[in-house]
Subunit: 317 residues, 2 copies
């Protein structure tokens, strides 16, 4: 039996686990990232966590084939360095060599969204599909693409950025410096903004009560929760929001033609309340949807484990 | 030496040629499509044209390895039929079996935009690149994608439709039934509409003189010609139009990451007048353009021959 280490490096937590060659996550451990610390200190913790995971699995370092690390950044296609992880304040960091100062195992790096997509495609909700588009609706809109059961990295390998296709030409500013990006409208951040705008416009909405009339308490769930109560303004917010998600998803489907669309991120917990209108709208939006059935949007099932499991598959690309 | 037949089936003309294994087009012939005729009559002409091309190349049918045909339609991923070619009024047509009633050679079908991209990627301006995105700015916006020197057809093989990514959410209606598609703004049709709107708004513009104050005479060249004369309204039209093209191209680049972008279609004759601002804007629009140089937009060089040459490569996919 082969064993792999998968590490999901986030701005809040570092999670690591031992994964078998059958993509079974034996055990996972996590520590707070404490992102204000130095690069060296954070990497030292990643190495400690790795050793803990190996020990707790009853294994030794020699049992491990390789380590995969998902990072919230592009990986430089030439140097292999972490290009820019704004949550960690890392710019052009040689993560592989730093990690190998502690543990001399082969190390593979990948983007965290790519890792999540690999995890779902090989061990999660898209196990039975060859061509998988995953979109994660979170602070931004991230995603990964699996084509013929292989991670698609495009030509220059500079990263698959589905959140930064233009959805609303000359629209609202995006953190990336552009305007009108898909993620400005389809992220949880975008949904929260749309919810706050609706509360300001409709003072009697249930959404206002759900957030105690405090805009700081508005979450991505607020509009969905109020919509379930039949609140008209909230239903409108959910309708508009799902239309944005569907339009961006349809754009991607029209060029990538996946077999299935996985929706990840906290919002996927809304289940059918998100997915039913989304699927209806995607079908209406995509090109030539009458010829071959459009890909179904389904929810991710592995949660945070997807990133750990997917990271262990980076070495196979 | 191996020889192939490439056929480019258009709504106006059918062009066929003999292509060597070095991708050299030995000779080409064309006849009017006369698209009002029956499917059977048109296919009979395609076969006659093929025989003429073989004869004029001094070859015999046995010298030909296969026939590739580029059609203005998707090819059904299961049946292999031509799904819908609106210029020919073809719906679900078994082109391969009909063609083989006349000539018993292996036949491969592909979308015409895919064939053009294959031609440019293997024999034209993108010969030296592995990952090529081609966009053809014509009546609509078509395109093809070559990844690792192979035609990218996506998961379900239902066709790469870069003209139908959403660029202007809830924007102007598209012929596909949606709103705000890239091709509504970036096609020659879109440019002509933008030119007419500017003429209506600025009655003293040179564009008005160039079209003899007759909107029916406005072409995709009108704004470019007037802009070269320094006309302010025309410069504005060209600036806005190139921004639309750049925004859609950047969206595609952000997910596909090609090494190079080929611009085809009649508008590519504008040369640097189109490509210089386009490249500047694409660089400004794409995600993480400071890390790795963005793909350069260059013009297609094979013109209509790209489709013939590219069609002969369909059998290698």
């Amino acid at each position: 039996m082969k064993y792999y280490i998968g590490i999901d490096l986030g701005g809040t937590n570092i999670a690591a686990g031992v994964v078998t060659e059958e993509k079974y996550l034996m055990a996972k451990h996590s520590v707070p990232t404490l992102a204000w610390r130095s690069f060296e200190d954070i990497v030292a913790d990643m190495a400690s966590l790795t050793l803990t995971a190996i020990e707790n699995a009853g294994l030794e370092q020699k049992d491990i084939s390789c380590v995969g690390i998902g990072v919230p950044s592009s990986i430089h296609p030439v140097t292999g360095n972490v290009v820019f992880a704004n949550n960690l304040n890392w710019v052009d960091k040689p993560l592989i060599s730093e990690f190998q100062k502690h543990i001399s195992l082969p190390v593979f790096l990948g983007n965290d969204a790519d890792c999540a997509a690999l995890g779902e495609a090989f061990a999660g909700s898209a196990r039975d599909y060859d061509n998988v588009l995953m979109l994660t609706l979170g602070t931004g809109v991230g995603g990964g693409l699996i084509m013929n059961k292989k991670l698609f990295s495009g030509g220059t390998k500079l990263g698959f950025e589905p959140g930064h296709i233009c959805l609303v030409y000359n629209g609202l500013p995006c953190t990336c410096g552009q305007r009108g990006c898909f993620e400005v409208y389809a992220s949880c951040t975008g949904l929260i903004r749309q919810t706050i705008e609706a509360i300001a416009q409709y003072p009697t909405t249930e959404m206002k009560k759900l957030c105690d009339n405090n805009f700081d308490k508005v979450s991505a769930r607020t509009a969905f929760d109020a919509a379930r109560l039949g609140d008209m303004a909230a239903l409108q917010v959910v309708d508009t929001y799902t239309s944005y998600v569907a339009a961006g998803a349809a754009s991607l489907i029209n060029v990538l033609r996946p077999d299935v669309l996985i929706i990840g991120g906290g919002l996927s917990n809304e289940g059918d309340y998100l997915l039913k209108p989304l699927n209806k709208k995607i079908k209406a939006f995509i090109y030539a949807s009458d010829i071959v059935a459009p890909p179904n949007a389904i929810r991710a099932t592995l949660g945070n484990d997807a990133g750990i499991i997917g990271a262990t598959l980076l070495g196979e690309e």
